[in-house]
Point group: C2
Chain length 231, copies 2
């Protein structure tokens, strides 16, 4: 474990613009997102603090940040663990996505819209698919929907959904069938993008709703098999 966690002692000597705790959070968030700390892993204060060369108090502040982002769960007197989502969590994530993402599309003004971010995410997904990088396809799909939310031009809505999408990654790591999970949605993202390009909000919203319903069904189906009865 220690090898992959770069020691921060050097950086600390230099002038750090952000606090140590935030930099630690950034590192841990990446490790969780990329699956290096899979759901269920316990993050010991001692071993991680030692590996990163930061004190317990500093590390605890990082844990607090990530706990509030719902990536870690804190059990009193037992420590922090990478969150293991229940099937109900996954359903609620998609409930929230459907509510917000459809509302964003519906609330768009008159076309044309600034769709560069969306088509960029589509390109990113196609490129990853060509290389057989299915996890990359999953990342690109999430980017697509983040860009979709960004069309609402609301800082709070963005941040709100940022955390929801981070949670969604946790579910993807449990499922761990990236091609089956992500490939079908490249084409559907394209369809949504095209509807928006011609200014057909209603069609885009319908496609989006169908997308989310199907995606939820597929994730939950595999998810139940994985987490079994304990989730």
């Amino acid at each position: 474990m220690t090898e992959q966690l770069r020691d921060l002692s050097d950086d600390r000597a230099l002038l750090g613009r952000t606090s140590t705790a935030e930099r630690v959070s950034d590192i841990l968030r990446s490790r969780i997102a990329e699956g290096y700390f899979p759901p269920g892993t316990r993050l010991s204060e001692d071993s991680i603090g030692g590996a990163l060369g930061v004190s317990r108090n500093t590390l605890r502040e990082s844990f607090r940040l990530l706990t509030h982002e719902r990536l870690l769960v804190h059990e009193l007197n037992r420590g922090v663990f990478v969150r293991v989502l229940t099937v109900e969590d996954v359903e609620d994530i998609y409930r929230t996505r459907r509510l917000v993402e459809c509302a964003v599309v519906r609330g768009l003004g008159e076309p044309p819209y600034g769709l560069d971010g969306l088509s960029g995410a589509v390109d990113e997904g196609r490129r990853a698919a060509r290389e057989g990088d299915w996890k990359g396809v999953g990342t690109a799909n999430i980017h697509f929907h983040k860009e979709l939310v960004a069309l609402a031009a609301s800082e709070r809505t963005d941040e709100l959904m940022r955390s929801v999408f981070a949670e969604l990654r946790l579910a993807f790591h449990v499922v761990d069938e990236p091609q089956r999970l992500h490939e079908p949605y490249i084409a559907r993202n394209v369809a949504i993008l095209e509807a928006l390009q011609v200014g057909d909000r209603e069609k885009a919203e319908g496609l989006l709703a169908g997308y989310l319903d199907d995606s939820l069904k597929r994730v939950v189906e595999v998810y139940r098999r994985r987490v079994g009865e304990d989730g």
Copy 2:
């Protein structure tokens, strides 16, 4: 200051289910919500830690929690302050409210709906108005809209909006014209409730959108005068 901040030393001896830091956060959150710590106030580690009888490290964990809820802002080497919202913040809060609250109403299934929470909040507002407790009317209005969001039955949406409504209170404290700010909306909440009671989602959504637009206009109008150019 010290008189209003109850010492926690006694509670610590008793069986506490939650951590000290969380209980401290609860206390500070209430104080901020009720305006005892108005926006802009600096929260000194020494004085508050002393008043509550907790150590600096514990208090700093509370500050982290509340900072992440956007109620406090942290300035490096200067400490934490109760957030002062800008006009842009207020506009974004209402943008988010409109997006989510309208989507909740639109996404309701077939009537009848469980509207006990909503009518309870209406009663609460009427009672407060009879007693001339206009801040209480504001609290009741926020309850009404929290209950409205709760109709979506989504844990994440609830939590998300809980933090948005907490921020909204910060704006109300800056404005500080509670009667003018809250009284007109009792009747409009009633109208929304009645539309939902007869199952007319579309009318309810329209009333809600108008409500939010008017409320934003009124808050911003007074807000600009208060914060002036520095916001």
